[in-house]
């Protein structure tokens, strides 16, 4: 079989060599606990402080505005629940989000609702963009927190975060954005965009799984979810993962440094792939087309096929893609994102997400562009036979 092709970078990316090298000492001789007063502790503390500062610099933030987490899910949960817990006392009990968020946000919002919050889900357009009128109608002076993801992980749609954050703040609501897919693809600058909380995750940008960070603007009300120690300034107690924090800072710096060139490269490859597929499969539908999209995501539905069979056939042909949404069991379910933006069921069940990244090459894109239509043709023959 020819070399496998990885087109699932929105799921995860390999740890970069530079990142691995930067982390290595903290698994070895510099193993100290950053909370210890002795030299081992000081050494670890210095590395952690430096990592925080470097990461803050990447986000246009101050280092005391950053807190390391275990990843995107923890950051999203913190953003919703920690703020809701703090603000319900002032009578702000509504929690607002969009229906196309990551399950980590939707799950946290449902949890807030179980704890007494009023859950409000924004309308979204067919292209995936949040409806402004719906936003204005739902984000009010009773709103504790509003969360809208910057780049959608399934369809790549970019929301106008600067504008939405501004509107939320006019109404006194905390504004959070899940920037897990945005960081490294869009400029993320806390000095320019007025979000209050922002979530990033390491393993989407070449750092290991299990590390992420949240940005929390100074003065943002919240109550910690974990209790126990003073680490991370009490925001998130627990001995810090020093090596992974160093890895995240390193990966973030590289992502910022390479962003413009990589965005151009991935955008060209994605556009080429998209054009080739649409040319060879004229009735294919690109989900989220029409809205601004991040350069690394292509979500395509072909009528008369189903995601599950296509993903299996692709995998057996050595091509790794996803449908964007997986059940706990690993089965392929119709995407809540596509359903929410009004994609008809027969197209929603046929969606395949291809996401590009460091492993993507022009040759790989060419191969997928020729292989995918062949698999589609076969899938259609079979579904015609099956009636």
């Amino acid at each position: 079989m020819p070399t496998p092709i990885y087109l699932d970078h929105a799921a995860t990316t390999p740890v970069r060599r530079e990142v691995l090298e930067a982390m290595e000492p903290y698994f070895g001789s510099r193993f100290g606990n950053p909370s210890s007063m002795h030299r081992w502790g000081r050494e670890a503390r210095a590395a952690l402080d430096a990592a925080r500062e470097r990461l803050a610099h990447c986000l246009g933030a101050e280092s005391d505005e950053l807190c390391f987490t275990s990843g995107g899910t923890e950051g999203d949960n913190f953003a919703i629940l920690a703020t809701f817990h703090a603000r319900r006392k002032e009578g702000r009990t509504a929690v607002v989000t969009s229906p196309i968020e990551h399950k980590a946000i939707l799950g946290a919002v449902h949890q807030a609702a179980r704890e007494g919050a009023e859950e409000r889900i924004l309308d979204v357009h067919r292209d995936g963009l949040v409806d402004r009128d719906s936003f204005d109608a739902n984000v009010r002076d009773d709103t504790a927190v509003c969360s809208v993801m910057w780049v959608n992980n399934e369809i790549g749609v970019v929301q106008p975060i600067e504008e939405l954050a501004g509107r939320a703040k006019e109404r006194g609501a905390v504004f959070h954005t899940d920037a897990v897919q945005a960081f490294g693809k869009l400029p993320v600058d806390a000095r320019k965009v007025p979000f209050d909380i922002l979530t990033i995750s390491g393993h989407k940008i070449g750092a290991p799984k299990g590390i992420g960070a949240i940005y929390i603007r100074r003065g943002t009300p919240f109550e910690p979810l974990l209790h126990g120690g003073a680490q991370n300034r009490g925001v998130r107690p627990g001995t810090e993962n020093v090596a992974a924090a160093v890895g995240l800072a390193t990966a973030a710096e590289l992502a910022v440094e390479e962003r413009e060139a990589e965005v151009r490269r991935l955008g060209e490859l994605r556009d080429r792939l998209e054009a080739a597929l649409l040319e060879r499969i004229p009735d294919a539908v690109v989900n989220g087309k029409g809205a601004p999209r991040a350069p690394h995501v292509l979500n395509i539905s072909v009528p008369g096929t189903d995601s599950e069979s296509l993903l299996l056939a692709l995998d057996l042909a050595g091509v790794a893609c996803s449908s964007g949404s997986a059940c706990q069991s690993g089965s392929v379910d119709p995407s809540h994102v596509l359903t929410a933006i009004g994609v008809p069921r027969e197209l929603a069940v046929a969606a395949v997400r291809m996401s590009l990244g460091p492993l993507t090459t022009p040759e790989g894109v060419e191969r997928v562009a020729s292989l995918f239509p062949a698999l589609i043709a076969k899938a259609r023959r079979l579904s015609a036979v099956a009636g």
Binding site: E308, L312, A313, C327, Q328, S329, G330, D333, K378, A386
Partner: protein
């Protein structure tokens, strides 16, 4: 080129051994676990989507070095199997969902997935054998599951690989140990219907039809002479031959002998009223080229674990057939399967519509409903 086979893996020992044996024989094995239903929040102490079974199947595939996928057949299964299960109970019958699952889910829907993956064969852990395009009983007569397979399309039999059909259960377990399948080798036999947690089928019916559905609402116990002898809490809780939950105070042991959904009556009677001398079945399916004709002598089974009973074909029209038994058989239950055998060979089968000519006296047993 190695032949590709899609193995339906439940996470149990039989299908795990099937996969491992086929891999060892040199087949290009792909393991697949069907996701058929989701308990959702109804059963909080169980993980979603029979996750434990899926995990076990995945670990077996990892250990034998073959890919494993979870295939979502939830909506088709819900329609073809669970929907039918509920409507059959509502109609006063006792369905066997495993038969419908084999017919529609495993050997039709899953087969389409096999087609999509260019797999020539489909394999399961059934105790039955595919012999030159015909379906035969499993070698281990105590485990034989051919009774549950009569409904599949005849052409599919050629594409079936049933490696444990040649083995006894003990041999299967022994083989599992030899193959190092520690995850599953000592796993207890499952007796439940997969989508009926804790064996409480009334709960499933209630979820679909509402707790106040007629099938779950109180009605009369009557005897065959029409006397009302008590009240029951829903006829769907009863099956032909059942003794548990019947009113006492009778001279003889009493059994459910009929269920009348239109009047919500459960008819009870002594053993001799449980016997049938004939059976009418519908949805007839043949697994052989030359199906028995009117007048043919056959052997039939009206439940999984019973001795084959000699009978004669009386009538055959369209999808329906009537057979006369040489000797009376107890508890012929509408909704259960009638399977027609010729020795080892499965000739075909159907769904029991009714028993004919009840009289005499004999033993009884509850229908067995897991395979």
């Amino acid at each position: 080129m190695r032949e590709r086979v899609l193995v339906a893996m439940s996470g149990g020992v039989d299908s795990s051994v099937a996969a491992a044996v086929l891999a060892r024989q040199g087949y290009d094995v792909i393991g697949a676990t069907m996701k058929l239903f989701c308990y959702g929040d109804d059963v909080p102490d169980r993980p979603c989507c029979s996750l434990d079974s899926i995990d076990d199947a995945r670990r077996v595939c990892e250990s034998i070095g073959v890919p494993h996928y979870v295939l979502n057949l939830e909506s088709a299964f819900s329609r073809d199997v669970i929907g039918n299960f509920v409507s059959e109970y509502a109609a006063g019958r006792t369905p066997i969902p495993c038969v419908r699952c084999n017919t529609f889910t495993k050997f039709r829907d899953l087969l389409r997935k096999a087609d999509a993956l260019e797999a020539r064969y489909i394999a399961t852990g059934h105790y039955a054998r595919s012999v030159s395009g015909e379906l035969h009983r499993g070698s281990d007569r105590a485990k034989d599951q051919s009774y549950f397979l009569w409904g599949i399309d005849r052409d599919v039999v050629r594409r079936m690989l049933l490696p444990v059909g040649e083995l006894t259960k003990d041999e299967t377990r022994q083989l599992a140990r030899e193959l190092g399948l520690r995850v599953v080798s000592e796993k207890p036999e499952s007796q439940d219907i997969c989508f009926v947690p804790d064996g409480d089928h009334a709960k499933v019916i209630a979820r679909h039809l509402g707790a106040d559905a007629p099938a779950l609402s109180p009605g009369d116990f009557v005897t065959s002479d029409g006397s009302v002898v008590g009240r029951h809490d829903g006829y769907a809780r009863f099956t032909i031959g059942q003794r548990r939950g019947l009113p006492g105070g009778h001279r003889e042991a009493m059994f459910v002998i009929a269920i009348r959904p239109e009047s919500r009556e459960v008819v009870i009677g002594p053993r001799q009223e449980l016997l049938g001398l004939g059976v009418i079945a519908r949805e007839i399916n043949w697994l052989v080229d030359e199906a028995p004709d009117v007048g043919a002598r056959v052997q039939l089974q009206v439940r999984h674990r019973s001795a084959p009973a000699p009978a004669e074909v009386l009538r055959l029209d369209g999808g329906e057939m009537e057979l006369a038994l040489d000797e009376a058989v107890a508890a012929i239950t509408p909704g259960q399967s009638l399977v027609i055998y010729d020795g080892e060979r499965v000739l075909g089968g159907g769904i029991i519509e009714s028993a004919v000519g009840a009289r005499g006296a004999s033993r009884t047993a509850l229908p067995v409903i897991a395979a």
